[in-house]
């Protein structure tokens, strides 16, 4: 039997139908789920760029013109996962079809409204890339604990200080003892009053006795000469005594003066040592105004702190796509090719309290060198509820060496109402009302900030309360402030800027705190003064009599010396000779 085999066609036409059905199903699913797919993709990509969880409430699309609308974007702050770095109410952008087919995301116009920074999250956001410890322990947040106010007690100071009063008293007592011994030694050699009186009697007898003969005269002269030798010896003893006692009196007077002066010197020294230990006091402006200044800086540096890191990461393929398991998307963009991502124009509305600030952007991209132009931004706002005038201009570009950018701002007449400076229990301070003017500029070169700003607060009314005495002094000083000029220096890396705030407040508060510290210690100092004075006065009282006695002794000695001197200077021979002559004249005359 002949077999007939029919060669089947190589094509399976029903398969083509099946293929078309499959493609149609895929297209239908993509169409229906496009918004969800876009939402997931955006959350994932933005989350990677942000380094922390990003939530999007809703995504809508429109084909002609190709438009994407995103609502309720919350970008977790990796440093504070309980807060959003930025929250965006609505975002709408038109995509260029032609560029999209070439894999480029070129938005002609993007409008973003309801942008707020540092808003609390409903739940803690997941952090994908932990910030470094340096970033977490930044320049703020430590607050009042940085100001360590403490003053040593009087007892503590007494342990450290070498009190002069007891030493002076002890030295004076020792000196008194030594001088007394020396005086006692020479006192025994001092001719007594009786001796002096006996001398005088003998001299009187010699001068007043009758001399009959020259032989008697010679005897008298002999006796007087012997007496004069004694006078000389005694006078020598008196001079020696006077020298010792005089020295003792001078020494003791000096010691006494030292003892009298010692309490005052000790008190001055104690006061000196009782200076307020005020570590961190010079940072009081940063501590009190730091948090709030940081909030203001968040707005002022928004372009850098929010957008720059995301653009930087978007330029880093390895950061966007982890290599393992997911692969890497290579970019072969030529140096003159259009950037992969570009927002030509954008208008962003920042919600600041009840006011909205419009910021106009141009050329947002991470490939500025390809574009040949920097990203520019400009904000203007006048006569609204929060400020009377605001001008902010800036530009930035991502280059091979990092970020280059500059920004200037001037804001006047900002109405601050119930602005909390510190909510800590130890010191709570709120600006009830104030007018703020600020101007400044900041440049970013190779991802390093360099800039300065001034913040002038006028017509300030501050409400402050405190727990301890030192904080109370700060609170009191704050409440008395009406105007304050703060200087801010901005340095450091892009993601870790270092703000240093300084003002005259530091000096004012330092003086107030020091005065308060001394007032607080005055009670104890008074007790110390009384104790030292009492010690010194006691010594003076006890030894004043001894000093007087020595002074009297010195007077006596001088008196005795004078009497001896008088006797020494007597011309006995002449007197006796005169007497003998008179006698002889009488005898001869009678004859």
């Amino acid at each position: 039997m002949e077999q007939h085999t029919v060669r089947r066609s190589a094509f399976r036409w029903p398969g083509l139908v099946a293929f078309l059905i499959i493609v149609a199903l895929i297209a239908a699913f993509s169409w229906l789920l496009l918004d969800t797919i876009l939402k997931w993709s955006l959350e994932r990509t933005l989350g990677t760029l942000n380094g922390a969880e990003v939530n999007i409430e809703r995504v809508d699309h429109q084909w002609v013109p190709l438009t994407i609308e995103v609502s309720g974007v919350q970008m977790t702050d990796p440093l504070q996962p309980d807060f959003n770095r930025v929250a965006i109410g609505e975002l709408r952008g038109e995509l260029n079809w032609e560029q999209l087919l070439l894999g480029r995301f070129h938005f002609e116009q993007v409008v973003s409204t309801g942008i707020r920074v540092h808003t609390p999250r409903e739940s803690t956001g997941e952090v994908y890339q932990l910030p470094s410890k340096e970033q977490m322990g930044g320049w703020l947040g430590e607050g009042m604990e940085r100001i360590q106010l403490s003053m040593p007690s009087v007892d503590e100071v007494m342990e450290r200080v070498d009190l002069r009063t007891p030493t002076a008293v002890a030295e004076a007592k020792e000196s008194f003892g030594e001088q007394k011994e020396r005086v006692q030694d020479v006192l025994s050699k001092l001719p007594s009053k009786e001796t002096i009186a006996a001398y005088e009697t003998e001299v009187k007898q010699l001068t007043e006795s009758e001399i009959e003969t020259p032989a008697q005269l010679r005897d008298k002269q002999q006796q007087f000469a012997e007496l004069k030798e004694k006078f000389a010896e005694d006078r020598q003893a008196i001079e020696e005594f006077k020298e010792v006692v005089g020295g003792a009196v001078d020494e003791l007077k000096t010691q006494m003066e030292k003892v009298k002066a010692a309490p005052k010197r000790d008190l001055d020294r104690v006061r000196e040592l009782m200076q307020l230990n005020s570590d961190g006091l010079s940072e009081i402006t940063a501590v009190l105004f730091g948090d709030q200044a940081r909030r203001w800086a968040d707005y002022m540096l928004l372009a850098y702190e929010q957008l720059a890191p995301m653009l930087k990461r978007s330029a880093d393929e390895t950061a966007v796509q982890p290599p393992r398991g997911e692969g890497i998307w290579f970019s072969f963009t030529g140096s003159d090719a259009p950037p992969d991502f570009l927002i030509k124009k954008a208008r962003t509305e920042f919600a600041i309290g009840p006011t909205v600030l419009d910021v106009n952007w141009e050329n947002i991209t991470h490939q500025h060198e390809q574009l040949g132009q920097p990203t520019t931004f400009r904000a203007r706002g006048e006569n609204n509820a929060l400020w009377s005038s605001l001008q902010l201009n800036g530009e930035m570009a991502l280059t091979a060496t990092g970020f280059d950018a500059r920004q200037e701002w001037r804001v006047q007449g900002v109405n601050l109402v119930r602005t909390k400076l510190s909510e800590r229990s130890e010191l709570a301070a709120t600006i009830l009302s104030a007018l703020l003017d600020s101007e400044g500029n900041v440049a970013l070169r190779d991802s390093q900030f360099d800039g300065n700003a001034t913040l002038r607060l006028a017509d300030m009314v501050i409400e402050a309360s405190a727990e301890n005495q030192w904080a109370a002094v700060i609170a009191q000083a704050l409440e008395s402030l009406q105007r304050l000029d703060i200087n801010a220096d901005i340095k450091g890396a892009l993601m870790d800027p270092d703000f240093s705030l300084s003002s005259d407040l530091d000096r004012q508060l330092g003086q107030a705190l020091q005065a308060a510290a001394m007032d607080a210690a005055e009670g104890e100092l008074t007790q110390l003064r009384q104790r030292l004075t009492s010690e010194a006065d006691g010594f003076v009282g006890d030894y004043q009599d001894d000093l007087s006695e020595l002074t009297n002794l010195l007077g006596d000695a001088e008196n005795r010396e004078a009497r001896l001197q008088e006797m020494l200077e007597m011309k006995l021979q002449n007197q006796l000779e005169d007497k003998v002559k008179d006698k002889l004249k009488g005898i001869l005359g009678n004859n």
């Binding site: 190589a10 398969g15 493609v23 692969g327 890497i328 072969f332």
Partner: protein, 168 residues
């Protein structure tokens, strides 16, 4: 899965061409190794459905190779990375990058390019080996296999019922 195996066994025992089975294995391998949501996979699917390629072999090959791909992804990435980084090829890649068609193909993704290149390089080998195995099975093993006691026993269970139904 049992149905799929049964269909494959039926195809092996049928008059389907050995090349049809071998090509099905190759197409399934390419689709399994490369990331699923790529344009070239639509082309492979179109080939598999439009031409008389054995669909059971295609699907089975796709399932097995998709599982293997998870293990081989690092290798695909390394190969793709090396190719895309090759200095001499940069002008080609740049030209392709500027083309909408090639951008849609997503050639610039390391795993996509690496897995496609490895799959295509392995495709002739797999095709020849598959053809030889199918031929050898039909020539030597099929009769002997059917006479095995265990096969006889299996014919009594559910698997055989499915197989028979397919036949019927």
């Amino acid at each position: 899965m049992l149905t799929l195996l049964a269909r494959l066994l039926r195809a092996l025992n049928s008059e389907s061409g050995a090349w049809a089975l071998a090509i099905a294995f190759v197409l399934g391998m390419i689709m399994g190794f490369t990331p699923l949501w790529r344009v070239h996979n639509l082309v492979i699917l179109l080939i598999a459905l439009l031409f008389r390629v054995n669909l059971s072999g295609f699907i089975l090959s796709f399932v097995i190779c998709s599982g293997l791909a998870f293990l081989l992804d690092p290798l695909f990435h390394q190969v793709g990375f090396a190719i895309l980084s090759a200095e001499g090829w940069q002008p080609v890649w740049q030209a392709m990058y500027d083309s909408a068609f090639w951008r849609v193909v997503q050639f610039h993704h390391t795993i996509t390019l690496g897995s496609l290149v490895i799959s295509l390089a392995f495709a002739p080998i797999l095709a020849i080996v598959s053809f030889w195995l199918v031929s050898q099975y039909r020539r030597r093993i099929q009769t002997w296999f059917n006479k095995l006691r265990i096969v006889q026993a299996l014919k009594a269970n559910r698997f055989w019922a499915i197989y028979s139904n397919l036949r019927g």
